[in-house]
Amino acid sequence: MYGKAPPVVEPQFEHPQWLAAWRELDCRLPGVQAVFEACMASTLARLSEDQQHGLWGIGRQLGKPGRGPEPVKAWLTHWPEVVTQLDDAPLDDVMALVLALHRSPNSAAITPLLGSLATAAKRLGSAEHLRHYLQLVQQFMQQTTGSIHGRQQTQPSPGLVPLLEQVPRLLQLVSLSGLRRWVEHGARVHHHHPQHQADYFALQSDDSLAMLQRQRHGTLLVDAQRTLSLSLQALCKQDTPLVPLSGDDAGPGRPTPIYQADPQHPSLGLPDVLEPLNGVDALTRYRLMLLHAAGHRLWSTPCVADNWSPMQRLAVEGFEDARIDRLLLQRWPGLRTPLLALLPPVVEGACNEAEYACLRHRLAVFNRAVLDPRFDVHDPHLQDFVRAFEAALQANANTSAMAELALRWVARTRRPSDQQPSVFFEGTQLDWRDDNRHLWRFIEDGDEEDTQPSARHDTAPELHSLPPRLYPEWDHVNQTERPDWVKVYEGLHPSGNPRELDRLLTQHQALMRRLQRVLDRMKPQGRERLRRLELGSELDLDLAQQAWMDWRLGHNPSERVQQHWRTNERHISVQLVMDLSASLAEPAPGSELTVLQLSQAAVAILGWTLAQLGDDLAIGGFHSNSRQEVRYWHIKGFSEAWGDAPLARLAGITPAWSTRLGAALRHGSRTLLQRASPRKLLLVLTDGEPADVDVSDPDYLAQDARQAVLHLQDQGVLVWCIQLHPAHEASVQTVFGRHYTLVSHLGQLPQTLTQLFLRLTH
């Protein structure tokens, strides 16, 4: 027995056009009717007849393939927006992409795609650009949709739906080309890891945010932070930390600066990125924000807010801000040009009091009147208050005098329309002003939302260790850096028993005795005599006598009869970076010892040698378990004396994991670069080639390490590799060029290492 389908009940629309449209749409899926009714009125008003037919026709098509009501609802909601933005909206391209999604395992992405179109049309501004956007989505889909044995695509793209859901936000932040670079980067580097891909495109991973930050247009606060801090220090003697506020803290526009006047932890939140505005460059905009907040810190005192209405508080803020700006201009007259360029050109009477609450507008006109000397006001009340404001400034008015004036202004200019729900905002926000939260003190707890910028919580909590440091990695395929790509955790290496090393060292007693003799000769002599100088610091009596005799004998005397003493000191810092990967535990060929034991002995002798010479030495070791976990262990610090503590750490080495060399070089060289010594040497002791569990491209890590080495060489560090395994010569050449030593006979490692060091530094 089959039940009979319930009869289709057609909704009763009074307007014949509505009924015709509903019939054309021909979709009975649940919820569609409500959306249809909600958008119908505006659609009829905005869309031409052809466009309406297109809307209903495509809506019908979308309802048929059995993907549920969501695509139809998204279509009806967003497409009218697209058509309103772009007359020549590329309907065919959209449909082609929808069809492609429908035929692939990615049909779940149809709704988010349609949902992203309205913002895309608005931000991109032309049909041409919208087409490029659609192509980008299509390419991404093809690139990331999984297939089995390369034949039939069966796995949906893990990143497509998160990407499309983020597109409205992304396009607020970056241009289309920036979006393309961000998408291509994510698709390439997370190709083989579905979960990472989904996280990247949902903006849930560090590297995703860092990469996005790089694509943003305008000046980033992080880039300008130092010069801004210096300006603050120079101009106002303040060292308030600057905190970036990201764009979505205050809706689609840029966030308002926030000055937290907490005496313990003051901070100034500034937008994380700014673009030039009205011919004022981004840095100057930042500086105006900075100086305005600094002005508040210098000249404002908090007021008790409890007894004042929001309108009164608004007026007090407006007057106080104007006072601060005037004081800034008085002190730094050169700020006038950018400030006036950023001042919105409000004019009296622009706000219609019948429709809007105009308080903010009146305040903006007042602000312009006191800041812009070329602006004339006609309203007699306003003129009175401008005069009163000028008089108060002359009399060095403080915040409470300003508040009094502002309250009088509110009382005098109050209008019934100020209570209207629709507020006139146009031209009432001044670019450089902060939100004035520091101006208020509440005696009773209010329900004000705490919007203090807080640290990001999305990083995984790490216990018992310093927080990881993020380093970039070089992507040799497209010649760019992957920002914040590798996490390096550092720590002090656990100690072992230093007596085990003593046993190893006894085998090298003869070497150490030989070295001792060499070292005694090499020790810095302190002063060195330079003879036969024409201009020295004192006469060399022997030579002078010789010259005198020559003179008397009628020969030409030498004029080089002076000498000079020069201090001659070794001043060198050496950083040794040891590869602690698992292969170190293998036995060394032709020896009963392991590679690890030989390395330990060699490093112990090197440490002893440097201690004898008085050179600065730091020793670190590293191994890695994917880019998420590179461990860098400190074995000896520069300021630590050579003794049992570093020996114990050296003895405690336990090899494990893989070799991510580039990250280790970047991290290990940090302290070396800070050393004051004119000569810096970084030695790398390794028995393998750069490799890690999450990298399949054999060249990738070697090229990355090459970049790290080049970068260090640019900074004046001599980087030298001691390779313990002859099979890896090619890779070591790639990374270090000619700066490497191949140890052919591992038993000789202690001699080789020490001799190499002496050769490099003598």
């Binding site: 210096l230 730094w332 050169g334 006469l539 009869v561």
Partner: protein, 261 residues
């Protein structure tokens, strides 16, 4: 020298009277303070005021004891002894001023020890002679504590032999007066220049080793006197010489724009 015109010096406090007292007792004097704050000018002024000749030695790190004491030179008759500036001052009763003495190596500064205690004598080893200082002789050294590195500090045994004056940049009003006195700049522009100097001095320790000195302010004012636009003169005299750091330069340039308008 004593017979030249009076050097322009604006006393900041009672340092003139204190110096006169120190000279009356023939105490060795150390003048401390940042670069370009008027240390050398003060010593010149005091020498002029006391009517004594002044012998100034600019110390540098290649300077040796011979450069101070003297050396044998060769000539047609054989070798000839030439007194160094310190010996010359000790013989003739001049004020010997060793400028930026920390620049000289520590072993060089030790030769002044015997001149700065009760002996007031300078032994010259090479001549086997001891020069007894003239009663008018006085030793003055200047010393910039800004170079506080281990390498460049005076030995405690040297420091212990001097009475010291601590100088700093003059306060704003005085600095304006100095600028006007030195260059004839109008008060308005002199004030702006001084507030710019204060801006730069705020960065000391934040990337700048030393702030803008009064001397550099005088240079800027002189450039302005030559008709250079104020902002350009400030960039040239106050910012470019003191820093190579792009961020600091940018911040100071901005301060110049903000002040001059």
């Amino acid at each position: 020298m004593s017979n030249t015109a009076e050097p322009h010096y604006l006393p900041q406090g009672d340092e003139v009277a204190l110096y006169e007292a120190a000279y009356a007792a023939r105490l060795p004097v150390m003048v401390k303070g940042p670069t370009g704050c008027g240390k050398s000018r003060f010593v010149e002024y005091m020498a002029w005021r006391l009517g004594k000749p002044l012998i100034t030695v600019a110390c540098n790190e290649d300077m040796t004891a011979s450069d101070l004491v003297g050396r044998y030179l060769l000539d047609a008759q054989g070798s000839r002894w030439i007194d160094g500036p310190l010996t010359q001052a000790a013989r003739t009763g001049a004020i010997c001023y060793l400028d930026e003495v920390v620049e000289a190596r520590a072993d060089t500064t030790v030769v002044i020890h015997s001149l700065t205690d009760h002996r007031r004598a300078l032994p010259i080893d090479k001549k086997a002679e001891t020069v007894q200082a003239h009663p008018d002789f006085q030793l003055v050294i200047s010393y910039n504590p800004g170079y506080q590195s281990l390498m460049k500090d005076l030995k405690p045994s040297t420091k212990q032999r001097f009475v010291a004056f601590e100088f700093d940049y003059p306060d704003a009003l005085q600095e304006v007066a100095i600028l006007q006195g030195e260059t004839g700049l109008d008060a308005e522009r002199a004030r702006t220049l001084v507030s710019l100097a204060h801006t730069a001095r705020n960065l000391k320790g934040h990337g700048l080793a030393e702030g803008v000195s009064t001397r550099l302010l005088v240079y800027a004012a002189q450039l302005m006197g030559q008709g250079v636009a104020p902002a350009a003169a400030c960039r040239m005299a106050l910012v470019r010489p003191i820093t190579d750091d792009a961020d600091i330069r940018q911040s100071l340039d901005h301060a110049i724009d903000a002040l001059w308008g």
